[in-house]
């Protein structure tokens, strides 16, 4: 019942509708687009280096003859996957840490709050950048782990403060007096009550993670060759952007559209899941 209401509200929300349509189109483009294109992303066309968009190479080629259309879509797949994985892991971490800190209180709460404060003192970009030399020759999944491990703090603060008020609710007290262990109360009563917040945050964390990954990759601290992502493509294209704009504008444009559509959905979800909202 509630899911239906939420879905109806979400679809009635204009922002979210545009966001969903745009995201669906982008995902279809990323995963099915390569089959339509004439070239494979790993293929090098030695007859056209840095050629402008044409009928053969729709979005042009780069200095080693790769088809920008194929490479960009391949990179977008990686960026989407990284964004989704990081968002799910970091929101899950935030939920667990925030809820247990808020529910159990005491020294656990103090220790966790202190950890969060500490991690907030150093911007995650700096920390991951410093660790990044270890990512050379490592799987890109390590980048996902790093981005997730350094990206949950702000959500966990919100979760903690909301758990503090949930802890005093009658049904939670009743469960506690019945002798149900704390971790089970958290899983059964606390987290489901925070689900709207967590869904919204997970959505917005997707765009945050995509931006984080592209920012790191821009300096070579993120996705390592031979893997490509939107970030590495933008980095490769931006220093030639003045003379060969297609190297830069296609990946950058897709990145902005991707982030924009995810943010639209997140904002729409916020309205749809907010019980006080009138629409």
């Amino acid at each position: 019942m509630r899911n239906k209401v939420v879905l109806r509200r979400l679809l009635a929300n204009r922002q979210a509708r545009y966001g969903l349509i745009a995201l669906a189109l982008l995902v279809v483009l990323a995963y099915f687009g390569p089959y339509i294109g004439a070239h494979d992303w790993s293929e090098k066309d030695f007859l056209s280096f840095l050629s402008a968009p044409s009928a053969d190479h729709w979005w042009g080629t780069n200095q080693i003859g790769q088809d920008i259309y194929a490479v960009t879509l391949h990179g977008m797949q990686k960026s989407i996957v990284i964004g989704l994985l990081v968002a799910v892991i970091s929101t899950g971490l935030a939920a667990l840490v925030g809820a247990s800190a808020g529910y159990f209180g005491g020294w656990l709460d103090r220790a966790m709050t202190w950890c969060v404060d500490l991690l907030l003192v150093l911007p995650s970009f700096l920390v991951v950048a410093v660790i990044s030399p270890r990512l050379k020759n490592a799987s890109w999944l390590w980048l996902v782990v790093l981005l997730a491990v350094f990206g949950w703090m702000i959500t966990s603060r919100v979760v903690r403060s909301m758990t503090l008020s949930l802890r005093e609710r009658e049904y939670v007290l009743a469960a506690r007096y019945m002798g149900i262990p704390g971790w089970r109360i958290i899983l059964r009563h606390v987290l489901p009550n925070l689900s709207s917040l967590l869904i919204i945050d997970a959505t917005l964390n997707v765009s945050g993670a995509i931006l984080g990954e592209t920012s790191l990759s821009y300096f070579g601290f993120g996705v390592q060759p031979p893997d490509v992502s939107l970030g590495t493509l933008i980095a490769a294209g931006s220093d030639k952007a003045v003379v060969y704009p297609w190297l830069f504008f296609f990946p950058a444009g897709l990145l902005v559209l991707l982030v924009l559509s995810v943010n639209l959905i997140g904002d729409g979800l916020r309205d749809a899941l907010d019980p006080g909202s009138t629409r």
Partner: protein, 325 residues
């Protein structure tokens, strides 16, 4: 109130110490300065390399904790150690810190002030065309990362300069060293235009969204109506009663926004060729320069905690309830 701020200050000091130590340990364990010597031809003798690494306290044959001890003892006395080539980190920092602080200061002040103004204005004109335009553009700007904004500005300016036939707007470096006096000042300001825009746009968009929401919450409240009912002009009521109250929640976001500004400054410095702290971090990670990386991280931690401290002070100044309790 003073006591509260003093305690916050003490806690912050400990946080900086722990964060800086963690950053050092991370940098020392994931960067390999020895690799810098490996590619040389002819290959230097192991003893020579060791001596050079020992001189800068970055030899991986020394236990990590011992290196950390030497580094920490130096930092406590204000000495940040040596770069991997043997230069002084302090000197390098002295050259760069002003560059970054200037960018950060301008970015913070312009970004927050303009953002708050734009957001408050949009709230007052809710649902009109101007509000919608501001809302949509801030939403779009927040989806564009700094390095894309900066590159796009650069492309635009190169096109503009080419169309004008002369360099109307400078797009690399900090100043032209051949100029003197007023020309120099004008040239410095000209060089500031693009970095400032690329840093501020995101901040303005972020603050304007927060401020608009907060302002809308406040505008419907009784005390604003009372203020107008007792005969205050609309402008006075909005500025003195509504905006002041709505600023409090925005001020608490100040510290967080500063963190993103700091990251953004790294891109701005690197793209526009400013030799600041952010560009230094990137370069010293490339060159496995442990002590420089640690120094930049310490700088970042201090900056963020100062921003947090300032945000506490601003909240206290705006909110009488905080001052009393």
């Amino acid at each position: 109130m003073g006591k509260y701020l003093l305690r916050r200050f003490a806690v912050n000091l400990i946080l900086v110490a722990v964060a800086a130590s963690l950053a050092y340990l991370l940098a020392a364990s994931s960067l390999h300065p020895r690799a810098n010597f490996a590619g040389r031809n002819p290959a230097p003798a192991v003893e020579v390399v060791d001596a050079a690494l020992d001189d800068a306290n970055i030899n991986d044959k020394t236990p990590l904790l011992q290196r950390y001890g030497t580094w920490a003892a130096g930092v406590v006395h204000g000495d940040f150690g040596k770069t991997w080539e043997g230069g002084s980190v302090n000197d390098e920092m002295g050259r760069r810190i002003g560059v970054s602080l200037r960018l950060l200061f301008i970015g913070t002040v312009l970004g927050s002030a303009l953002g708050v103004m734009v957001g408050a204005w949009a709230a007052i004109r809710q649902y009109r065309v101007s509000d919608r335009v501001i809302g949509v553009s801030s939403f779009v700007i927040m989806a564009i990362p700094v390095f894309v904004v900066a590159t796009m500005l650069m492309i635009g300016v190169v096109g503009l300069n080419r169309a004008a036939g002369s360099t109307l707007i400078e797009y690399t470096g900090e100043y032209n060293p051949t100029l003197t006096g007023l020309d120099q000042l004008a040239n410095r300001l000209n060089h500031l235009i693009l970095p400032t825009i690329s840093l501020c746009l995101g901040q303005i968009a972020y603050y304007s969204r927060i401020q608009r929401n907060m302002m809308l919450d406040v505008l419907g409240q009784d005390f604003v109506r009372t203020a107008m009912a007792k005969g205050l002009r609309r402008r006075t009521a909005l500025f003195k009663h509504a905006l002041r109250t709505a600023l409090i929640p925005a001020a608490t976001y100040f510290a967080f926004a500063f963190g993103t500004l700091l990251t953004g400054a790294t891109f701005t410095e690197k793209i526009f060729g400013w030799h600041g702290m952010g560009a230094w971090l990137v370069d010293s990670i490339y060159t496995n320069d442990v002590n420089s990386v640690a120094a930049v991280n310490l700088f970042a931690a201090v900056c963020i905690l100062i921003a947090g401290f300032l945000s506490d002070v601003i909240v206290a100044a705006l909110d009488p309830r905080v001052r009393v309790s």
